[in-house]
């Protein structure tokens, strides 16, 4: 029994519909030789092993973020010295960058079927909504429950980020919907209260401390995302984690009452990290789709060649159908999964195969 389960565990964990050579958009979870930290023996352990590639890439990313922060600091100082509203301009830019990063991550996650990317995109979008948007709209002195709405949104962002980092989070958990619903309820409540009793509000010190706690949670979630991304060599997790940690650091600097230039520069650096996560992720997702299409095309070509060599003079209706389906795959229609199932399907039991001996069976085995 042990040997049978062992051999099953050692088998490649590919999807049944796709041969091993096909890119399925996911990394294999099986025991890969030569990949430390991802083997079957390393999964249950909590040892923190980082591949040198990931460590080098992380060092490069941190250096680039620091460089961006320095450049942004110089620019923001110049803008501030010129008498322009630096914080508001920066918040507009950061909002635009954050929303575009969220859209890119969401599209790429949708294309590659990644649940984690969808949650990360929701977290980034939520952070852009509750962070720079009120500053951009100049709602800084908003009364009532609006600051509490920002805190609630920040907590939702933390929850989304944590769920995205978790290794095994159930697919049916509607985190994104739940976070959006909570945020919408909080906004509706704040709006209603603001309309009914504009003077009612929470004490400012309490809200500030709650916001600080929520931002501390954001920083913690970002650092843990950095750790998880380093350990599993996931650039998206790593860079988004760096971005959230830098955002939390910017809020901490702002809370400590220093000049306005440093936090604004830090937000710029965080936006740069977000874009550095989103743009390559989008490109790699598009490339993955392209590779998959090429693999299907090559497979269709091979299938057709096998059918031709099986004998074209006695072509049975089933074989003709398979040829038509292979042509359809080659035409890049949306029947990419159908020929595989058709080819792999055994002939009806009890009936003799209409094709000459060996032709469909040979084809279905490849």
């Amino acid at each position: 029994m042990t040997s049978s389960t062992r051999s099953r565990a050692d088998a490649p964990a590919a999807r049944p519909a796709a041969p091993d050579a096909w890119p399925t958009g996911r990394r294999r979870r099986g025991a890969g030789p030569g990949v430390p930290g991802r083997g079957a023996d390393a999964r249950p352990s909590v040892r923190f092993r980082v591949r040198p590639v990931a460590a080098r890439a992380f060092a490069l990313e941190v250096g680039l973020v620091a460089l961006t922060g320095g450049l942004a600091w110089t620019a923001v100082r110049g803008v501030d010295a010129a008498g322009l509203p630096a914080a508001r301009i920066a918040s507009v830019l950061v909002f635009a960058g954050g929303i575009s990063a969220a859209v890119m991550i969401a599209v790429a996650g949708r294309a590659s079927g990644s649940r984690r990317a969808a949650r990360i995109a929701a977290a980034v979008g939520g952070a852009a909504l509750v962070g720079p948007l009120p500053v951009a709209l100049d709602l800084g002195g908003a009364a009532g429950l609006w600051p509490a709405v920002a805190v609630v949104g920040q907590l939702a962002v933390v929850a989304l980020l944590v769920v995205a980092v978790r290794r095994r989070s159930p697919a049916h958990r509607p985190v994104v919907t739940l976070a959006a619903a909570v945020l919408a309820c909080a906004a509706a409540l704040a709006g209603t209260l603001h309309g009914l009793a504009p003077s009612v509000g929470l004490p400012g010190a309490l809200v500030a401390d709650a916001a600080l706690a929520a931002w501390a949670g954001t920083g913690a979630a970002g650092l843990l995302a950095v750790g998880a991304g380093l350990r599993r060599d996931r650039p998206l997790l790593r860079r988004v984690g760096v971005a959230f940690a830098v955002l939390a650091a910017s809020h901490a600097v702002r809370a400590s009452g220093a000049a306005v230039v440093v936090p604004v520069a830090l937000t710029f650096a965080a936006t740069a990290a977000l874009l550095a996560a989103a743009v390559p992720f989008l490109f790699s997702a598009v490339r993955g789709l392209w590779e998959q299409r090429e693999a299907y095309r090559v497979e269709a070509e091979r299938l057709r060649a096998a059918l031709r060599s099986a004998g074209s003079e006695t072509r049975a209706p089933a074989v003709a159908e398979v040829v038509a389906l292979a042509d359809a795959v080659d035409e890049r229609r949306r029947t990419t999964r159908a020929p595989l199932r058709l080819v792999a399907a055994p002939p009806p039991r009890g009936e003799p195969s209409p094709a000459p001996e060996g032709a469909p069976g040979k084809v279905s085995r490849g």
Partner: protein, 46 residues
Amino acid sequence: MPAVRGRSGIVCAAPDVVIVSVVIFSVVIAVRDGMRPWVAEVGPGR
């Protein structure tokens, strides 16, 4: 870190996040309160 269930039945889904955020919160509060006299003397910036 896996989820933790307390004696009262409350489940904490991410205890590591809670621990790290409490640490960050304390550090930020300490730095803020430590900087307060300095900021009052130098000025809060713009």
